[in-house]
Structures are given as structure tokens and as C-alpha cells.
């Protein structure tokens, strides 16, 4: 390993958490991934489609270089990776220790079902009497108290929700492998103390808890009596009244917390003393109940304590860094004023609920009906900004993604339910700020017939007879509009993560005024505390693309913290299993059948007779329960003979994913891919199998297919591809410098190539960021670090002239000043060629010195060359020549820059009149707050329609701007001393970078990502990574994040001297190949080239992903894929039809 690796904790296993964990695992670190929920996937586990592609692509996040290290299946089934230890149902209790050496206490909530024994047959769920709302379907459908965490989870390990289970024990009696341990053993061990002066309260609580629940309950009629009971015997829980003669409840609490600190206390208070109850909670009480209360208010609270106490399995682990990926939560519209009738009016649903309603695995199996009255839906309305951009629900920020989610859902609804479905979106500003969003929105409006209506709907009225929803809103011209809809989807905004308060005070994280964690200047992932990093959407709701970028960046920064020598590097290279070379032997297979505790009676010789003739089958052995320790000893005894070279295990679906193949590989010395596992239990125990299954016939097919699959396993040890431990970074802007430093800090020698004489790129002219951080010192610090760094060699005034070779061993020719040409080999390339301000046409630009672009204004402000007349007026025109064809994308930063510059001008001269003419203010995220501050400072905002663009008239030095004011419905003419055009950005139009590196540009000239959401910083060619503005417009910290993410992906390629080629890699049998090159165009990854001098088809092993497209198109199977050779596929087909 070229850099120090260690053990890193990732908190939260949503998309961000999984991305960080996989990145770190791919660069050699050991990762513990902790998740509060019982499954990984977070919010994405219940989303079938994502914008802007309207498809799903989660599995494209899986590792690409060493694919065999992780699961190769849909991520909604769950994630397994050699170096990632996943712990679901686990919370962080404490993080202490200083940088590089943190001890973390984890508490795992028990699921009451033994994971090794449960085989997901679901018999328990059939008999369970308790129905609870199913969070997977956002509460719209119910599931049993004993359930599988996710419908998709595989293997389907059932678990019990402790608070809902009535301990009736039905499931335990039914479970075939008795895997269920009822929650909390004996209830009578749970001791409760009730301290109250009124006898009636004491007796009734005792009856509820003792007779009905079976707890041990003691009572005390006064404070001192309670305390004496506490001294002589520990209690788990104390129910404490406040208003008592003599010693009141608070004094008792204060003494009790010293006397027996881990007794949980619940205060019981009359209405008047609620404040004192809250006070009591500050000094240690867990909760409070307002008298008089019913049993069903008291019992769940008691059960919570009971469960936690009973299932406590705390554990501490040592880690070198912690990455918080706890994501965010969605705003609950029923909290606050609930003026939109959520849960009171039928047909008012949140965006997440709507996603579940239209999903085929949703509560109504994909039928579009209203949850409460099952009424079919024909007319739909999406209401934007629910819980965002709204003081009343204290959410004066923009949640960034709700606009795009609404467009996606509207398009999906029309595609799925037909064109006569009426879909309208009611919005104030449609925030389509990413480079591909504007075209997505235009297509939604143009091709899918989605109606975009400007107007903020405040109240949802229900028509009592027809149960229709009536939407009243004032349209732009001011008159009132009403529209009747069947269903209204609330585009709910964001709130901080559920665990934010706890995590924040554990890691001393500074929070902003809305409760989101804040990061260091110029970084979206580093925090003040060195060992703690924030990934994904923890710092505020991000779309999937940003979440993936920030997660990779957080991983990079955590890994970088390990390199600075502060920590002792821990290399735990996996012990390579010694493998026996069996490539010379004919396939000899032994079959192990697990009868699952004798649930199956198997006649082995009937079975082997049915499987004959099969010379490669040596014999069949029976094991009672393969998943138990006794089972593994039995296997040990059976397998001592080494006459076999392949092993087929026939067991239950659980075994297919358990580590059994790795354990058997260690036990038998065989390579892991010569051991296969097939599931014979599901087909045989299949529910609803009426007649008694002829299990031998059924099993014969499965085993026969398994034998032929296994016979096709590739016995040869897979080759290693050498990696050249050297990186190339093209472009010396902020992204290039960050990427170069990130790689160099990991010990990778970097060639940084910059075409100009100096580094800095756009940092040279920008003065200040939105948050007020000064750029010049930051730029100086970066350049200084680069010049001093031993691993970085800087090439200025140099461009890349030629590029060729395979991933891990590229050959680049650089052309320096005075035609000095150098060629060198690189393992990976990061392109950061950046971008520039769009050259402006129109709006009178160039006809008068008063008309400037944003860049010119920023430069003039810096050199104080700007003197506007008194009192003076400045007009800023947004989307000047951009966000319309041919450049139909939003450059994301010009709105925020206009606001920054407007506030700068206003601070210098408060009397100055500033007008901003905009189409949609793209102040996503927390920049919305700056928008409000600008309005308060007196900046006048005038919205204009793309059809009626403002016009600038210049005669002499009198400049006037004429614009159609939509509300006053009149044309305004503003005399302007300065007109500032916000023209957005284009990629730097230098030499044909994409042609040289063999990657595809996108329609606007930026780099085309391999996958806009799931592989945002990888180009269409493996080994070439892209970042910065050349990838897509963004703020400085966003560009830095893409650079760090690109560095992390490059590290996965560079950090090892060679990479083990995956077993399923394409291969060419050159003697059969007639060089028709059909396979070259068939390869989706461009991994095949025609080497004309060798007259052969050559495959880049690291680019090939093993999809088999080449094998299928090649008529005479000259192009094949190991493990899937055609003759073995024929064998499997024959076995299936035997």
C-alpha cells in the first residue's frame, strides 16, 4: 500500500454513507459502517427513480476495479464488501479521544431474531397479530411487528419491533429454525418504583404495570420513602410526581440522580407544573407525563426504557477518523400551522408518500389512488416550498431538491398513468440550478405536458360534497385563480438529521441558525475538529450527485488526515488465502446438502442416480445445519479428503450471502470462486406448494445446474495488472491544485500541468466568497503548498499534446514552452481545465463603458475603480444570454454573485438604487437567506419572462433599461449608471481536451460524466477523472469538493502497485478472431481496441466490467467472458431441461 491505511467509522448508511465506505474500502482502509435503521440505503431504499434521468442507477456506485471484493447485485438488497463491517440498528453513544485515535461507543438494538438461524421463510409474520405502520411506504401501509427490514433486503432477516410486540409468542412457536428470542427475557426482572402522594395514582399505575404488563412494581407515598427504597434496591425506572407535601419531586430527582444514576426517571406532573417538569428534564429526568394520563400513554414510554435496558449491548471500537453521513430528515407538514390540511384532508400527501404510491412495491401496488378514500386520481398538483423559504415554519432556506423531485414525479406520473392525467406544479422560483436540470424542466413542460404555474398556494380548501381539493392562489397579474384537484403533493423541504443534536454535541460541531452542521471555510466536508468529517447531505439537503461528491470528498479528507503522521498507520492487508492450483485437474465436484435441522429427508443415492451420468460429480454429503458451529465441524470432518477441486453447497438463501464461501475456501485451500452455493430451501419450502413436492426431482435440476455452473468456474489464478504509481493533473485552477495536493498528500507523485504562466485560474479575479472569506490569501496558501510539496512537479505554459495506453499505464506527451516535449507514464489522470465567463452578445454590451459583466464589476470593485454618480442606480440583468438555446443550462453561481455584489455596493453607498432583473432566482440552499437580506437592504427585484427580455438603450452616456414589470403589468424604464450582465460560465474553449483523452463532452462542452448521479467525477473512460468548472459550473467550495472526490477515485486506482483482475473479465481467443470489430462497438465501456500492428483485439482489463455484450455479439465465440463460457451455459440449459 502506498499510503497509510487505518480503521475509519462512517455514521449513517444512506447513499452518502455507502459511497464513503466503499471509497475508503477501495483505497485499503477498514471501515465500520453504522446505521440507525435496520437496513442500509436510507431514503433511497424507497425511491425507484431519480432525476434527471428518471431511471435508477444505484448499483453503478459499486466498486469497478476490484468488483469481486463486494456484492455484485442491486444495492437495494443490501451492501456487502470485504473491508466494510456494516452494523445496522446501531447508534453512536459517545465519541472521545483526540485526533487520529478516537474511541467510539456503539449501542446495537437487538432485533430479537438470531441472524444466523433465520432463513426468511416468513411463517412468523403470518401469525403475528400486531400491525404497525411501515416506514418503507412512508406509513401508508402496515406491516407486522415481526418483519423484514425492507421488502428488498436480501437475505430477508426478520426482526421484531420491541415497542410494538405484545410478547404473545405466536411467532416463536411457528418458527421452523426457532430463531426467535422473545424480547427482554423475563419481564418480572424489570423493576419500577412509583412515587406519588395520591393513593389513587399509585394503585392504578401498579395495576396497569404489574397485572397487565407483568413488571415488578413498588410504590412510595412520599419523596423520602421513595429515596429509602431506592437506596436498598436498584430500580430500572422511577415514576415521580412533582407536587408532593414535604420534599417535592425535583428534590427527590436531584438526590436520586446521585444515589442511583442509571435509574431512568419519568416525571408525572399536573398541567400547571409543566415548566417544572421541563426543568426536571434538564437535570436528568428522561421524560414527563401530564396527569391524568391513560395506560396507552404510559405503557409505550415504560416499554421503551424496558427494551433499551433489556437489549443493551454497548461496544467500543478504536477508529482513526469519523465521517458523519447521517443525511437529513424531511419536513413534517403536520407540525406547525398545517395550513395545507396534511393528514386532515384526503388526497394531501408528501412527495415521499407520492413516490411510494406510484411505486410497484408501494402500498397500492402502483395504482394511483388517494390513501384515505382509495379514490382514483386524474388531476394532480405539486405545491412547492412547503417548510422551505417560509418564516412561518422557521425555514428561511431553500431545500434545493424539492423542485426537481416534483418535476420528476410529475413526469413519471404522466408517463405511467397516461396523457389525460393533469399535472401542474405551483412554484415561486423553479430551482433548476444544475447543468442538466434546465433541459430536464423544459422537456417536462414541452414533451410531457406538465403545467408550471407561478403562484404560492397557501390554503387547501376541501369541497365537502365532492371531497375535491380546491386550490386558491393569486397569479402574477394579481387576480385570484382557483383549480380543483384530486390530489395535492406537498414538496416538503428539509430539516437537520434526526441524530444531529446528539452527534453535534458529541463532536462539538458548530451549528448554523437552522440547526445544520457548519464546515471550515472553502471546504464542505472538513470541520473544526480534526478527526471528524461531514459527508453527503449532513450539512443540508443535497441532490444525489452532490451527496455522492461530498461523500467521496469526506472520505478523501479522512484518509488524508491519516497520512499526516499524526496517527500510527494500521495496515491490515487481508491474509491472501493460500490457494491450491487445480488448473491441471478435470472438474471434480463434491456436494454438501444442508437439511436445515432435518427439515428435509434426502435419499442421497436416489439423488445421485438421478444426477448420473456426471463424471465430474464425486459424491453427495448431508449436513444437518450448516449455519451452526456443530455444522461447520461436520463439514471439517467430511472435507478432509482432498480428492475434490470444486465444492457445491446446497442450503438456504441466507448461506448465499454469509461468509460460508470464504470460510470453506480457508478450510479447503481452494480459491473462493471454485466454491458455489445454491438455494434449495426456498423452492422446496415454497409457501402454497399444494401437493407434496417431489423434492428429489426439484433438487436434481437445481444441483445439476449448479454442477454445470461450477464446472465452468475458471481455475486459473487471475492475472495482475501493473499500475504506474504516478498521476497527471491537467489545469492549475482551484480544482487542479486541490486534486494535486490531495494525491500528493497520499504519497503519489503528481505532474500538474497548467497552460498559463501562473496557477490560480479563476481565483485570480474573484475577491471574496459569499460567506465573506477572502480569496487572495487562500490562493497564495494553495500555490505555496504546491510549490513546496515534494511529490508535485509543476509544468506551467504546458499543454497535453498526446495521450494513449491502457488504464493504469497511460502514456502522455506534454508540450512545454519553446516546443519542449516530454513524455511520461501515468496511472490515472484528473482533468480540471476549468471554465470562463460566457462572452456576452446583446444587451448593448460594448456600446458603453457603463455596461459590464460580473467579472469586470468584481475587478472594478477590487481596484476601487468604480465610482457611480450620486445617488446613482445599478441594474443587474440575470440569465443574460444563457439558460436558453444554444446554452440552455443554468450556471448556478451568477444569481448568488449578483446578490453578493449588490450587497457590496449597498454597503459602500446605502442610497444607491440597485435593481436585479431575474427569471428564476437560483439561490438554492442557504444562499436563500442572502436573497432575503438583499431584499431587506432595499434591492428591487423585477421578474421578467424569457419572451419579454429587458432591453438596454444607449445614446451617448445615458443608458436606460426597459423591462416589463409583471405585477404592475406596465413597462418600466430605469435610468442606469451601471448595467451588470450576469452571463454565466462556459467550459474553457482551449484545445480539444476530450478528443485527446478519448472521453465524450456533453452537449454544452463540459465533460460528460460516466453517470450524472452515481459516478459524477468519472469520465466515460476508466482512469480519466474530471472535476472543477470544466465538469460543471459551481461555487469555489463545490469545485474543491469535486476535485477531492476525483482524487479519491484516482487513489483507488493508484494506491496499489498492481490490481487483481476480476474473475469475470472478457478475453479474446485470437486464433478464432476474424477481426470484424463488432465487439468493439458492442462494448459499453470502450474497453476494446484494435491493435493494428499486432493485428489483434486488445482489452483494457480495468475498463472491462464483465457485462458479456462482446461475448453475445461475437458469432463464433472468439470473444468470451471467463466464468460464463458458452459451453458451460449450454450445460446449465441442458441441466435445467433434464
Amino acid at each position: 500500500m502506498s499510503h497509510a491505511t487505518g480503521h475509519i467509522l462512517v455514521v449513517g448508511a444512506g447513499i452518502g454513507g455507502m459511497r464513503t465506505a466503499m471509497d475508503l474500502a477501495e483505497t485499503g482502509h477498514a471501515v465500520t459502517l453504522v446505521e440507525h435503521a435496520p437496513h442500509v440505503g436510507g431514503l433511497l431504499a424507497s425511491l425507484d427513480h431519480q432525476f434527471p434521468t428518471n431511471h435508477c442507477g444505484m448499483c453503478r456506485m459499486l466498486p469497478r476495479l476490484d468488483r469481486d471484493q463486494s456484492v455484485q447485485a442491486c444495492l437495494r438488497k443490501g451492501l456487502t464488501h470485504e473491508r466494510i463491517h456494516i452494523r445496522t440498528d446501531t447508534d453512536i453513544m459517545a465519541i472521545d479521544g483526540d485526533t487520529g485515535n478516537l474511541t467510539v461507543t456503539l449501542r446495537q438494538k437487538s432485533g430479537y431474531v438470531d441472524a444466523r438461524r433465520c432463513m426468511g421463510c416468513g411463517a412468523c409474520a403470518d401469525v403475528c397479530p400486531v400491525d404497525i405502520p411501515d416506514p418503507f411506504n412512508a406509513g401508508l401501509s402496515t406491516r407486522k411487528a415481526i418483519h423484514s427490514p425492507l421488502p428488498h433486503a436480501w437475505p430477508a432477516l426478520y426482526q421484531i419491533d420491541g415497542t410494538a410486540c405484545t410478547r404473545c409468542g405466536e411467532c416463536r412457536t411457528v418458527c421452523p429454525t426457532n430463531a426467535i428470542v422473545l424480547p427482554a427475557g423475563e419481564k418480572s426482572h424489570f423493576r419500577v418504583l412509583v412515587v406519588d402522594d395520591e393513593a389513587i395514582v399509585r394503585e392504578s399505575i401498579r395495576d396497569w404495570l404489574r397485572e397487565e404488563e407483568g413488571f415488578h412494581v413498588d410504590v412510595a407515598d412520599s419523596g423520602p420513602a421513595g429515596l429509602s427504597l431506592l437506596t436498598n434496591a436498584p430500580y430500572h425506572l422511577m415514576l415521580l410526581d412533582i407536587k408532593m407535601p414535604g420534599m417535592d419531586g425535583v428534590d427527590v430527582l436531584r438526590q436520586a440522580s446521585t444515589l442511583s444514576p442509571d435509574t431512568q426517571v419519568i416525571m408525572m406532573t399536573a398541567f400547571a407544573t409543566v415548566e417544572t417538569a421541563v426543568e426536571a428534564m434538564k437535570i436528568g429526568a428522561m421524560d414527563y407525563l401530564i396527569k391524568p394520563f391513560e395506560p396507552d400513554a404510559l405503557i409505550p414510554k415504560v416499554m421503551q426504557v424496558y427494551d433499551r435496558v433489556a437489549a443493551m449491548t454497548d461496544q467500543t471500537i478504536q477508529v482513526q477518523a469519523v465521517i458523519l453521513n447521517a443525511g437529513t430528515t424531511l419536513y413534517d407538514p403536520s407540525s406547525g400551522k398545517n395550513n395545507l390540511g396534511y393528514q386532515t384532508h384526503p388526497g394531501v400527501v408528501t412527495s415521499l408518500e407520492f413516490e411510494r404510491i406510484i411505486s410497484n412495491s408501494g402500498p397500492f401496488a402502483g395504482k394511483l389512488v388517494r390513501p384515505k378514500d382509495d379514490r382514483p386520481v386524474q388531476r394532480l398538483a405539486w405545491l412547492q416550498c412547503v417548510g422551505s423559504r417560509d418564516f412561518q415554519s422557521d425555514g428561511d432556506f431553500c431545500s434545493s431538491v424539492c423542485c426537481m423531485i416534483s418535476i420528476k414525479e410529475a413526469v413519471l406520473a404522466r408517463e405511467k398513468y397516461g396523457p389525460n392525467l393533469d399535472a401542474a406544479i405551483y412554484y415561486m422560483d423553479m430551482r433548476t440550478y444544475d447543468k442538466s436540470f434546465q433541459r430536464y424542466r423544459d422537456a417536462a413542460e414541452r414533451d410531457h405536458g406538465i403545467r408550471f404555474v407561478r403562484g404560492r398556494v397557501h390554503t387547501m380548501i376541501i369541497d365537502p360534497e365532492t371531497q375535491d381539493l380546491v386550490i386558491r392562489y393569486a397569479d402574477r397579474s394579481g387576480d385570484m385563480q382557483e383549480s380543483i384537484v384530486d390530489m395535492a403533493v406537498l414538496a416538503i423541504g428539509q430539516r437537520p438529521a434526526r441524530a444531529m443534536p446528539k452527534l453535534a454535541d458529541m463532536c462539538h460541531l458548530p451549528l448554523n441558525s437552522w440547526g445544520f452542521a457548519e464546515t471550515q471555510p472553502f471546504s464542505l466536508t472538513r470541520t473544526a475538529k480534526p478527526g471528524i468529517f461531514l459527508g453527503g447531505s449532513f450539512t443540508g439537503l443535497k441532490d444525489i450527485r452532490e451527496t455522492v461528491i461530498l461523500s467521496s470528498a469526506a472520505g478523501l479528507n479522512a484518509s488524508r488526515a491519516l497520512q499526516s503522521g499524526v496517527t500510527k498507520p494500521v495496515t491490515d492487508a487481508l491474509p491472501a488465502p493460500r490457494t491450491r492450483d487445480v488448473s491441471r485437474e478435470l472438474p471434480a465436484i463434491r456436494i454438501l446438502i444442508c437439511t436445515c435441522h432435518q427439515a428435509l429427508q434426502i435419499d442421497t443415492d436416489l439423488l445421485s442416480r438421478r444426477l448420473r451420468p456426471c463424471p465430474s460429480l464425486l459424491g453427495i454429503d448431508i449436513v444437518t445445519a450448516i449455519c451452526t458451529p456443530e455444522g461447520s465441524e461436520a463439514i471439517g470432518r467430511i472435507l478432509n479428503a482432498s480428492d475434490f477441486n470444486r465444492l457445491l453447497v446446497a442450503a438456504c438463501p441466507q448461506e448465499m450471502h454469509s461468509g460460508i464461501r470464504r470460510d470453506l475456501a480457508q478450510m479447503t485451500g481452494l480459491d473462493r470462486n471454485l466454491i458455489d452455493c445454491v438455494d434449495i430451501h426456498t423452492p422446496i419450502f415454497r409457501k402454497g406448494l399444494t401437493e407434496h413436492p417431489d423434492i428429489h426431482a426439484e433438487m436434481a435440476h437445481i444441483l445439476d445446474m449448479g454442477i454445470h455452473r461450477l464446472a465452468g468456474a475458471n481455475p486459473l489464478a487471475s492475472e495482475l495488472t501493473p499500475i504506474h504509481h504516478h498521476a497527471l493533473v491537467v489545469g492549475g485552477g482551484v480544482a487542479g491544485m486541490t486534486a494535486a495536493l490531495a494525491l500528493a498528500d497520499h504519497g503519489v507523485p503528481v505532474d500538474l500541468v497548467e497552460k498559463n504562466a501562473t496557477l490560480g485560474g479563476n481565483l485570480c479575479w474573484i475577491q471574496e466568497t459569499l460567506q465573506g472569506d477572502k480569496i487572495p490569501p487562500f490562493r497564495a496558501e494553495l500555490e505555496q503548498k504546491i510549490s513546496k510539496h515534494p511529490n508535485i512537479t509543476l509544468y506551467t505554459q504546458t499543454t497535453v499534446a498526446g495521450f494513449s495506453g491502457q488504464t493504469g499505464g497511460f502514456v502522455t506527451t506534454l508540450e512545454g514552452p519553446e516546443k519542449k516535449v516530454t513524455t511520461s507514464r501515468h496511472g490515472a489522470v484528473i482533468l480540471a481545465t476549468g471554465g470562463m465567463e460566457t462572452p456576452v452578445q446583446g444587451y448593448g454590451y460594448g456600446q458603453s463603458p457603463a455596461i459590464l459583466t460580473q467579472k469586470e464589476l468584481e475587478e472594478q470593485i477590487a481596484t476601487h475603480a468604480l465610482n457611480i454618480g450620486d445617488p446613482g442606480s445599478v441594474v443587474m440583468i440575470q440569465c443574460a444570454g444563457t439558460r436558453e438555446e444554444p446554452r440552455n443550462y443554468c450556471s448556478r453561481v451568477c444569481c448568488a454573485t449578483s446578490l453578493k455584489q449588490a450587497m457590496m455596493l449597498k454597503s459602500q453607498n446605502p442610497e444607491l438604487a440597485v435593481y436585479i432583473l431575474y427569471r428564476d432566482m437560483m439561490t438554492y440552499g442557504f444562499t436563500e437567506h442572502l436573497y432575503t437580506r438583499a431584499r431587506k437592504a432595499g434591492v428591487v427585484f423585477i421578474a421578467y419572462d424569457p419572451e419579454a427580455k429587458p432591453t438596454v438603450m444607449v445614446d451617448g452616456n445615458d443608458v436606460r433599461v426597459r423591462v416589463m414589470e409583471p405585477v404592475l403589468n406596465r413597462v418600466l424604464e430605469i435610468q442606469a449608471d451601471r448595467v451588470i450582465l450576469a452571463a454565466g460560465m462556459i467550459p474553457s474553449p482551449n484545445t480539444d481536451i476530450c478528443g485527446i483523452f478519448g472521453i465524450k463532452p456533453d452537449p454544452d462542452g463540459f465533460y460528460q460524466e460516466a453517470d450524472i448521479k452515481w459516478r459524477p467525477v468519472e469520465s466515460t473512460r476508466e482512469g480519466v477523472f474530471v472535476c472543477g468548472i470544466g465538469l460543471s459550473p459551481g461555487t469555489i467550495s463545490e469545485s474543491i469538493a469535486t476535485a477531492e472526490a476525483a482524487a479519491q477515485k484516482a487513489l483507488a486506482l493508484l494506491f496499489r502497485p498492481e490490481i487483481l483482475r476480476s474473475r469475470t473479465t472478457a478475453r479474446v481467443r485470437h486464433s478464432l478472431c476474424s477481426l470484424c470489430q463488432l465487439c468493439i462497438s458492442a462494448c459499453p465501456y470502450g474497453a476494446r481496441q484494435m491493435e493494428s500492428d499486432l493485428n489483434r483485439i486488445v482489452i483494457d482489463p480495468l475498463m472491462c466490467q464483465g457485462c458479456g455484450a462482446c461475448a453475445a455479439i461475437c458469432p463464433n465465440d472468439a470473444a468470451v467472458m471467463d466464468e460464463w463460457l458458452p459451453q458451460h451455459m449450454f450445460g446449465v440449459i441442458d441441466a435445467a431441461l433434464a
Binding site: 451420468p613 486464433s1071 470484424c1076 462497438s1081 455479439i1113 463464433n1116 465465440d1117 472468439a1118 463460457l1125 458458452p1126
Partner: protein, 382 residues
């Protein structure tokens, strides 16, 4: 400057005219050699040959009704790698179309070759040609061509044109650089020479031939030959379809097949160096053969006969130009061409693709579009 020239027919006859034309092309310094069918001295059989010495032109016999093999494979071999100069090739139109298919599969290039085509009168099966030669008194080529021009199909030795040629509707050489047209020219004293591409025009210009007016009769002649051929073809399709409309009939149709794979060897568009059926993929384990026998009671060996023909249909039916060599080569006279042409017709129509029409149409299975063939997906009623 029109693109029509005259190929004057001297009184010595059509053959002499053609030979003089070929000699004039060979004598151009830009053309290094010419590939044309040649009458072998040792035996009256005609084989393609690469002629460099103009004097040898007198052996070539473009009119002979002999179609021993599809020369597309020969031309592909001549153009797979740089030949060093330009070669003229005289090909029947099914050979031109087959060669265009091979170019799409990178088995040859069009850069260093000038294709000369002629209205194809059709040809005999190899066996029939040998009988025709014995029963001919003087030069077989000339007698055949005269009878064709007089539309008299009673050939000596009572033999008939090959099935493939009787059903061929592509008899005009549309893909050639230079097209020699004799159809509808009976009343003229010359054949028509048409430069169908720039390269063809450029060669014709160098020959400084007299220009020709657009012939009046030609269009009609082509139309009625086309009608005759199409009628024959559609009738052939119908009978073949009836003969193979289910597996029982198909197995009967192919019962005599001994898996010798000759039909694949001679097929111009079956370009694989080694057919998958002769590689290790179909070299079945003995235990597998036994298992088939046990399951079905009896298994005919060699196995995979129908599987071979179906797979060959799947692989090359979209590229089949209907040249008939497969039937020609089959030792057991299985009408392979009829089966493959009738299926090829359907598969090429399905993708709106015509084999050999133009180099720019990509082979159907090598390209795809996002939304196409929606009807193929799903299990609603057929």
C-alpha cells in the same frame, strides 16, 4: 458531361468486345491487375483469376454461365491489407453485394478496388454447367449468351439456370463502380457503360470512349425481367415456407445433412475464421451425449444439425445476398439457399435493412436505438 458511354460490340461478337474493354482497362497505368473469370486451358471450366498481362485477357470469359464460387471472399482477401495499387474486379451483382457486406465487417476495403459489374444473365449449378459444356458444340459462353438475348431457355443438355439465379431480383449491378448494361440493348450495336461512382467515371474518362445516349428500351427490359424473377422468387418462398412450416417438416428438410458445414465454407458472408460449431464450444462431453440419449431415448449423431442451421440463420440471415452457393456446395443436394433466402427476406424486412445495398447501413445487430420495437417487449397477446 453524362456518365454513359458506349462499349462498341465488334462484329467478332460480344466476347471479343468485352475482352477489348478489359484489355483497355488493364492497360491504364492506374490499374495494376484485373480479376475476371478465366477459361482454364486444361479443362473447359471457368475460375476467377487475377490477370496482370494484357495478353492473357483472351482467356477471360465473362459470359460463361459458370458460377463456381462467390468471388466476394477472393476480393476480400485481396483487400484485407494494402495491395499496393488499384485492382479492377469483374463481379456478378450478388458477389458485389456480398463484398459490400464483408467490407462492413472489416474483412476488406473499397479503397483499392474498381468494381466492374454487368447485367447478370444468371448461371448454372456447377454440375449442370459441366453437362452444358459437353453438350455445347462451339464456345459455351457465346451460345449461352445468344440464347439469353433471344430469351430462349431451352439450353443444350436440357438443364436450367440455378434456382438462386432464377429467383434473383438484383441482377442489375447497382453497387458497382462501372456497370455494363446489355439488357434492352439488343437493337443497338453497343452495350451501355455507366459510371455509377466517381472512381468508375474517372476510369471511363481515361478510356476516352464514345458517349452514349440514354437507351429507351432498357428500362422496359429490366422491368419485365424483374417481374419474371420476382414471381419466381415469391413462388419459391411460398413453397419453401410450406415445406418447413414446423419442426417436423424442417427436420425432414434437413434430414440428409451430415454437418459437413460446406454451406458455411462457401457462404461469402459467413466470415468467421472458424465456425463456432467446429470449436470446443460444441465439442460435447461424452457424458452429455449419453444424457441426451437417455432423456430422449435416442439421439441422432452428429448432434446439433437443426441447431447449426438455426444458429447460422440467426448469425447471417441479415447479410444473405441469395447467391445460391450454399445449395451449390451441399453434397446431399439439400435446398439450403431456398431456406436461407426465404428467412433472410423476413429478417431483413424486420430491420428495414437490405444486404449489400450500401456500405453506410450498419449491420442490424451492431446498432440500437433507445425507443424501438416496443411491441417485442411484454407478454400481452401476440
Amino acid at each position: 458531361m453524362s456518365d454513359l458511354y458506349k462499349l462498341v460490340i465488334p462484329d467478332e461478337g460480344v466476347l471479343a468486345g468485352l475482352r477489348r474493354f478489359f484489355r483497355s482497362i488493364l492497360e491504364l497505368e492506374s490499374i495494376q491487375a484485373i480479376l475476371a473469370p478465366v477459361q482454364l486451358p486444361m479443362k473447359p471450366s471457368v475460375m476467377p483469376a487475377l490477370i496482370s498481362d494484357p495478353d492473357q485477357i483472351d482467356h477471360c470469359d465473362p459470359l460463361a454461365p459458370s458460377f463456381p464460387l462467390n468471388a466476394a471472399k477472393v476480393v476480400s482477401q485481396l483487400t484485407r491489407n494494402p495491395i499496393g495499387g488499384t485492382v479492377a474486379v469483374f463481379l456478378r451483382s450478388c458477389e458485389i453485394r456480398a463484398f459490400i457486406e464483408l467490407v462492413k465487417l472489416k474483412q476488406g476495403t473499397l479503397d483499392e478496388v474498381v468494381i466492374i459489374g454487368m447485367d447478370c444473365p444468371g448461371a448454372f449449378q456447377n454440375a449442370s454447367y459441366r453437362r452444358f459444356v459437353q453438350s455445347c458444340t462451339e464456345d459455351p459462353g457465346a451460345t449461352f449468351f445468344n440464347q439469353i438475348q433471344k430469351k430462349d431457355t431451352a439450353f443444350p443438355g436440357n438443364i436450367d439456370l440455378a434456382e438462386a439465379c432464377k429467383a434473383c431480383e438484383h441482377f442489375t449491378p447497382d453497387g458497382a463502380d462501372i456497370a455494363i448494361g446489355w439488357l434492352g440493348m439488343a437493337s443497338e450495336d453497343h452495350f451501355l457503360l455507366k459510371g455509377q461512382t466517381d472512381r468508375g467515371l474517372d476510369v471511363l474518362k481515361q478510356l476516352k470512349l464514345p458517349e452514349a445516349a440514354a437507351p429507351l428500351m432498357r428500362h422496359g427490359a429490366i422491368a419485365d425481367m424483374l417481374a419474371k424473377r420476382l414471381a419466381y422468387r415469391d413462388d419459391m418462398f411460398a413453397t419453401t415456407h410450406a415445406a418447413t412450416s414446423n419442426l417436423k417438416k424442417l427436420t425432414a428438410y434437413l434430414a440428409d445433412c451430415v454437418n459437413c458445414y460446406n454451406c458455411r465454407v462457401v457462404c461469402p458472408v459467413c466470415y468467421c475464421r472458424e465456425c463456432v460449431f467446429v470449436t470446443d464450444v460444441f465439442d460435447h462431453d461424452a457424458s452429455q451425449v449419453l444424457k441426451w440419449s437417455q432423456r430422449r431415448g435416442l439421439v441422432k449423431l452428429p448432434a446439433d444439425t437443426v441447431f447449426y442451421h438455426l444458429t447460422r440463420l440467426a448469425h447471417m440471415s441479415t447479410a444473405c445476398v441469395g447467391c445460391g452457393q450454399c445449395s451449390n456446395a451441399c453434397p446431399n443436394d439439400i435446398p439450403v439457399m431456398e431456406l436461407f433466402r426465404s428467412v433472410a427476406e423476413k429478417t431483413q424486412n424486420a430491420f428495414g435493412y437490405e444486404a449489400g445495398r450500401s456500405v453506410d447501413d450498419a449491420p442490424p445487430l451492431s446498432v440500437f436505438r433507445e425507443n424501438e420495437f416496443e411491441d417485442v417487449v411484454g407478454i400481452k397477446g401476440e
